[in-house]
């Protein structure tokens, strides 16, 4: 208590002087305060507690204050903001941002620069909501105008923009106020800091933004196109930070469709630079960003994936990402250990992400990845890490690798990856669930040896609950996995699925607005209605509803694939012993089949033919009557016609 009061006493003195009636003394007080707080977090906290901030803000805003005083106030406030996050919060609570923004209207450059520096510090803090920059619509245009004032205004404003531009709305606001034109020429500034901050601005502006990206490719700076300038900034003798950021710009422009993936500036410049950033020589944080950016660059292009996979032994290089903290660092160097620990999660998730991208399409690359030392163990461990980020990217990696039939049968089985995967699926956030459930889809494929154990661990219930999700991707994955599960499954599983899902939910899904969900649900039905005893069994319990649903879909406005799938279901039903009758007694359905037999689409014709063929199969009891009935409604005529057509689908009758 006494210690605290001692400390505050010395700080109190500084605050008191701010209230001196003599402006000259106030100024001296502020200057002394400035010198006292530099690098002294304790002092900063004290001054804030003692209420220095409102007074400083008051002095700063006072028109009667001298310019010098106002500038010094801004400097002190900037210094306070450099402290802890709590400091920034306190400043925000005092409404510092509007005050500083107001200050930008002053004609005095020195004062403007001090305000901007302070704003920069505040906006780059994670506790500051970036929305505060956009609340007053006049701020952005004014900042754009200030860009021409000095290299400091350029640096600070660009830095503010690059931190406060989150998402398409912000991008659009900045873009509409001429950010591209205003900032482009700063790339040729003589000041490294200005160039760097301008570059960062472009990377955040271009991210997932085709409009900005398309504009950027055509911008000229000193007679050179922007992509060319970015390529120059990628040169190996440039600072790593610059190489990384320009690689991001080019990557984002490429992913936004503004640069072709086979353009030399991507294939021969951006990609190799990013691979180099993953190398051991780089700092841990650079390696993380390098790998993440590269993962994003190659995510959807198999050719880039192939090139990356052979460049500088990238796949082997990434395995080093899992070696932090290293056993050496633990003993010898506490500081290093701390540093390694801090980045270990980030490194792992970045490596998983990049592996996922690398293995997304090419079987050979997947094989190479899985052959990397301890790969499967690392994934399995990753799936159960506490960090959500690591779990998510581990699942992604697993998903990517699960597209390989060979791996499903071998490595996946050897390492029982389904176990941690099922665990991930419990109570995970949606983004993890989406990837995890689509991995599960692959693991439930009929040839996958993991199928059995997954079923035993309660997958049906889990998947059925997914089909009720609000999230479309989860619904698709849920029903998809169920479809895979039902394929050639035994009666018990099918019954479990039907029961778990409930007919109600089944029909809910059949009327889902998303065609993917509909298709997979039909697929599920078709898989459920496979062998004859199963057909009869299911139709005896759910026949009415199923027939209704089928009728509805055949009558509705659906695409060919959906109708084909539905006709296939009918064909399956027609294969049942007792189930047949459900069709034969339903004139409506028969008429529909007849209609599709003469449909212009050959696929639908074929599917309809299957139905008929199953209905009239000779060796079965009652086939004669069915044939008669069908003849009555004119199906035979159509069959005759079809038999003369070119299609070889006339093998029956």
């Amino acid at each position: 208590m006494s210690v605290l009061s001692e400390v505050t006493a010395s700080s109190r003195h500084y605050v008191d002087r701010l209230f001196d009636p003599d402006p000259q003394k106030v100024l001296q007080g502020v200057i002394d305060m400035k010198n006292a707080v530099i690098g002294n977090n304790k002092q900063k906290a004290n001054l804030i507690v003692l209420g220095a901030v409102p007074r400083l803000l008051y002095l700063l805003q006072q028109e009667t204050s001298s310019m010098e005083l106002r500038t010094e106030c801004a400097v002190v406030l900037g210094s306070l903001a450099m402290g802890t996050e709590n400091n920034v919060k306190s400043l925000l609570d005092c409404h510092i941002i509007p005050a500083l923004l107001q200050g930008l209207l002053s004609p005095e450059l020195k004062f403007i620069e001090a305000c901007l520096r302070c704003l920069r510090t505040i906006f780059t803090s994670p506790v500051t909501p970036e929305e505060l920059l956009y609340t007053d619509a006049t701020v952005i245009p004014h900042l754009m105008a200030l860009l021409s004032r000095s290299r400091y205004t350029q640096e600070y404003i660009c830095q503010i923009f690059s931190h406060c531009c989150k998402g398409p709305d912000h991008q659009t606001i900045l873009f509409n106020h001429g950010a591209v034109q205003n900032i482009a020429h700063l790339l040729s500034s003589t000041s490294y800091k200005v160039r760097m901050q301008a570059l960062k601005c472009f990377s955040v502006l271009a991210f997932e933004n085709p409009q900005v990206s398309m504009t950027l490719v055509n911008v000229l700076v000193d007679g050179e196109l922007l992509p060319q300038i970015f390529v120059k900034m990628l040169q190996r003798d440039k600072p790593i930070e610059m190489q990384l950021t320009s690689a991001k710009c080019l990557t984002y422009m490429c992913r936004a469709g503004a640069i072709q993936t086979d353009d030399n500036c991507i294939v021969l410049k951006t990609l190799p630079s990013l691979v180099r950033l993953c190398s051991k020589e780089r700092l841990l944080e650079e390696r993380v960003e390098g790998a993440e950016t590269l993962a994003y660059l190659i995510e959807t292009d198999v050719e880039l994936q192939r090139i990356a996979s052979i460049t500088d032994h990238l796949i082997a290089m990434l395995s080093d990402y899992f070696k932090y903290p290293s056993s050496v660092s633990a003993i010898t160097d506490i500081k290093r250990l701390d540093h390694d620990l801090k980045h270990a999660h980030e490194l792992r998730q970045a490596a998983f992400k990049l592996y996922a991208s690398l293995g997304a399409n090419d079987e050979d690359i997947r094989k190479k990845i899985i052959e990397t030392e301890n790969m499967m163990d690392r994934i399995v461990n990753g799936l159960s890490e506490s960090s959500i980020k690591v779990r998510l990217s581990a699942v992604r990696c697993l998903h990517s690798l699960s597209r390989s039939v060979q791996q499903l049968r071998t490595s996946f089985q050897d390492h029982a990856v389904w176990k941690p995967l099922m665990k991930v699926l419990q109570n995970a956030p949606d983004e993890v669930l989406v990837v995890a459930s689509s991995t599960l889809c692959n693991l439930l494929l009929e040839f996958s040896p993991s199928k059995e154990p997954i079923l035993e661990s309660g997958a049906i219930e889990l998947l059925c609950s997914l089909t009720q999700s609000e999230n479309l991707a989860l619904r698709v994955n849920g029903i998809w996995a169920l479809m895979n599960m039902a394929f050639q499954a035994e009666q018990k599983i099918k019954a479990d699925i039907l029961q778990g899902l409930s007919t109600e939910q089944l029909f809910q899904l059949l009327s889902d607005s998303d065609v993917n969900v509909l298709m997979k649900t039909l697929g599920l039905l078709r898989n459920l209605l496979s062998t004859r005893p199963h057909i009869d069994q299911i139709m005896s319990t759910h026949g009415k509803q199923i027939m209704q649903a089928v009728t509805l879909i055949l009558e509705g406005e659906h695409n060919i694939e959906v109708k084909e799938q539905t006709l296939c279901i009918l064909a399956n039903i027609a294969d049942g012993t007792t189930a047949k009758e459900l069709i034969m007694t339903n004139d409506d359905i028969l008429q529909k089949i007849k209609y599709y037999m003469s449909h212009s689409n050959a696929k639908l014709q074929l599917a309809a033919m299957f139905c008929i063929s199953n209905l009239i199969w000779n060796e079965e009891e009652g086939s004669q009557e069915r044939q008669d009935k069908l003849r009555d409604i004119g199906i035979v005529d159509i069959l005759h016609k079809l038999s003369q057509s070119s299609d070889p689908n006339l093998c029956d009758k």
């Binding site: 190996r236 090139i307 032994h313 990238l314």
Partner: protein, 668 residues
């Protein structure tokens, strides 16, 4: 202490006295030459082409021997394409340019760069075409014994630092058993590259790399027809990596390798732009090496380093006689100057005379101040006299000038010096000339004033009115270099003109006043001014006709007479000291001047260029210093010479980092 120390003489003596060869790690023998070897490592005989199944499978990426669908080995050798000569020359030039740019540190006289495959250093199954750049295999390719390879014409010089070449697979032939890499001279060419000691290779059939061993290690992808494979050798850290179609495949542990069987491949040693951006890789290493130099720990114990630097600067200033600067520098850095001030001034006076072209006086003064110097050194005396003869032709030597009788006031002497000041690179050997520019505007009779005037070429702030004279008289001038102080400059100069000390010599060149304070004369303002007058002078001099010996008949006679004396001296010298080809040539060149009606524009006219006074001046200065037991080279110049020699030694010892550190980089 700005300006002056920037002008470091680049003509440092090339005697790197005793620089120990870096001993630490003797790397692997650097004599590896890239040998792209076409190695045919024949597979089992190809099965007869059976009827292929209908679905044409995509080319399987399988490593290992595939039944060949291609041509029998070697059958695809292309006919040599006739090359038009012009195209060839163009390619030659292009190659030269690119090699110079890639490997600037390589001295090709000493260590030529590879430009093609060697027709001598190859196995007999290898055929070369297209200027020895295309290689094709013409053996049977049935057993490993049919392997063949070829090496390039020269080993890779260490001074490359980083060396790179590419090979394009024109046809993978029957089996695609091709390798590329490096091998030392003398390695068996009937073998696969990488199998033997000192040979390293990357093989196309399996993508493995071979490092002096019959077993390859998995390294990269396979390669085949149409691919461009590159091999980069880093002689700084002794590593190597390969590239495929411009993509680096990553480091191989400290090894270099090569050999393969292939059917036809084209090499690119720099004839064409490379697919891989090797220059970018070099940039990275240049930056690395330079950072290493910049951060080299100098073990600074209590300012030792700084003191040493200061000593070097000071000794340099003293050596060249910048005595005011040297004094001021010594004072501000708290040092002592070894040589006596008077001695420095003496040397400086002599140098100034030489640089002004007043050789007669220079010789006289030298004889006065250092009585025995020239007697002991007859060759030096001879050289000085030859120069005197040249200056007579020029009309600048004092003996002819007093005879000329042309408006002596307006005679100037060394107008070129501003040029050398403004761009040090043109006249790198001396900073001296800056100060010596301004010399006599009077004839030799004024020399009595000399002592009091030039304490350092820095002309003690005595400006002079002579500009006015020049301005008015310029039309009548016929002294070659002068003719020129023009209006605009004289206006500027006029502002300086204040008190004139008639006791002193008159300095007619604008630089004189500007250097009123010895260490100010590097300032940019003056630079600019001088540059300006420089250009103007050149223009003028081309318009005015220069005349032999300043146009005076008496002077010409004196010159002829002097020439005869010189001839006699030369003969006497030969009798006493034996033949001396240097002297002979010197005399012949000097006399040749008389053979032309306008010596200045004659083929030997460059002798008349004032810049030619500098070597003479430097030799004389060194000789004087030696008599005082002082070094004839300033330590700074010596250090630079040592650095250059050291780089040469590194190149010869296979230390690649010399490629990215040149002395010039550090002379701004």
């Amino acid at each position: 202490m700005s300006g002056q120390q920037q002008q470091l003489p680049l003509t440092a003596a090339p005697q790197a006295s005793g620089i120990a060869a870096p001993a630490a790690s003797a790397g692997p023998a650097p004599a590896s030459a890239p040998a792209a070897a076409l190695l045919l490592h024949p597979p089992p005989p190809p099965p007869p082409a059976t009827a292929a199944p209908p679905p044409p499978p995509p080319p399987p990426p399988v490593a290992g021997p595939l039944p060949a669908l291609g041509l029998p080995a070697g059958s695809s050798a292309p006919a040599a394409f006739p090359h038009g000569d012009p195209a060839l020359n163009e390619q030659e030039k292009e190659l030269k340019r690119r090699l110079k740019r890639l490997y600037p540190a390589v001295d090709e006289q000493e260590t030529p760069l590879p430009r093609s495959w060697s027709p001598k250093d190859k196995f007999s199954y290898i055929g070369l075409s297209q200027n020895n750049l295309r290689v094709h295999y013409k053996g049977h390719g049935k057993t490993p014994k049919d392997a063949a390879s070829v090496r390039a014409t020269h080993p890779i010089p260490a001074a490359c630092g980083i060396y790179y070449f590419e090979v394009k697979i024109v046809s993978k032939g029957r089996d695609g058993y091709m390798g590329i890499g490096l091998s030392a001279q003398g390695v068996n060419m009937n073998r696969l590259p990488g199998w033997d000691k000192h040979s390293y290779g990357y093989h196309g059939d399996d993508g493995h790399s071979f490092c002096s061993s019959g077993t390859g290690q998995p390294y990269g992808p396979t390669f085949t027809t149409g691919d461009v494979i590159g091999c980069c050798v880093n002689l700084i850290n002794n590593t190597c990596f390969y590239t495929k179609n411009g993509h680096s495949l990553g480091m191989k542990n400290n090894h270099l390798g090569l050999q393969t069987p292939g059917e036809v491949v084209d090499a690119n040693f720099g004839q064409h732009p490379f697919v891989f951006d090797i220059e970018d890789y070099m940039r990275e290493w240049r930056t690395k090496i330079q950072a290493q130099i910049d951060r080299f720990p100098i073990g600074d114990r209590e300012g030792e380093w700084q003191t040493m630097i200061q000593k070097m600067v000071s000794s340099y200033l003293v050596h060249h006689g910048y005595c005011a600067t040297a004094e001021a520098f010594a004072r501000s850095t708290d040092q002592t100057v070894l040589e006596e001030l008077a001695s420095i001034k003496n040397r400086q006076r002599i140098q100034k005379l030489v640089l002004a072209g007043r050789m007669g006086e220079a010789i006289e003064t030298t004889q006065q101040l250092y009585p025995s110097l020239l007697e002991r050194n007859p060759n030096l005396l001879f050289a000085l006299k030859v120069r005197q003869f040249i200056e007579m032709v020029n009309g600048t030597d004092s003996e002819v000038r007093c005879l000329g009788g042309h408006s002596p006031k307006s005679q100037d002497s060394y107008p070129v010096s501003p040029r050398s000041f403004s761009s040090p690179s043109m006249s790198p050997s001396h900073g001296m000339n800056i100060h010596s520019l301004a010399t006599s505007k009077g004839s030799g009779t004024h020399f009595s004033g000399f002592e009091s005037s030039c304490s350092n070429g820095v002309i003690s702030n005595k400006a002079h009115q002579s500009y006015c004279h020049i301005k008015h008289q310029s039309t009548s001038l016929n002294v070659p270099e002068l003719n020129s102080i023009n209006v605009s400059r004289s206006q500027q100069v006029n502002s300086y003109t204040s008190d004139v000390d008639m006791e002193t010599d008159h300095y007619s060149n604008g630089v004189a006043e500007t250097s009123s304070n010895g260490f100010l004369n590097g300032s940019s303002k003056h630079d600019h001014e001088m540059e300006e007058c420089d250009t103007e002078m050149e223009v003028d001099s081309s318009q005015l006709r220069r005349q032999l010996c300043g146009g005076s008949q008496a002077a010409i006679e004196r010159m002829i007479h002097f020439g005869r004396e010189l001839q006699a001296m030369s003969e006497q010298l030969r009798r006493e000291c034996g033949k001396n080809t240097t002297n002979k040539k010197m005399l012949k060149d000097a006399f040749s001047l008389l053979a032309y009606s306008d010596p200045w524009s004659s083929p030997v006219g460059n002798q008349l260029d004032p810049i030619q006074r500098e070597p003479v001046c430097s030799v004389l200065n060194s000789a004087i210093l030696e008599t005082h037991n002082l070094p004839k080279q300033p330590p700074l110049a010596l250090a630079m010479g040592q650095a250059s020699q050291c780089l040469g030694l590194m190149a010869r010892s296979g230390i690649g980092s010399c490629a990215f550190a040149t002395v010039e980089d550090y002379l701004h």
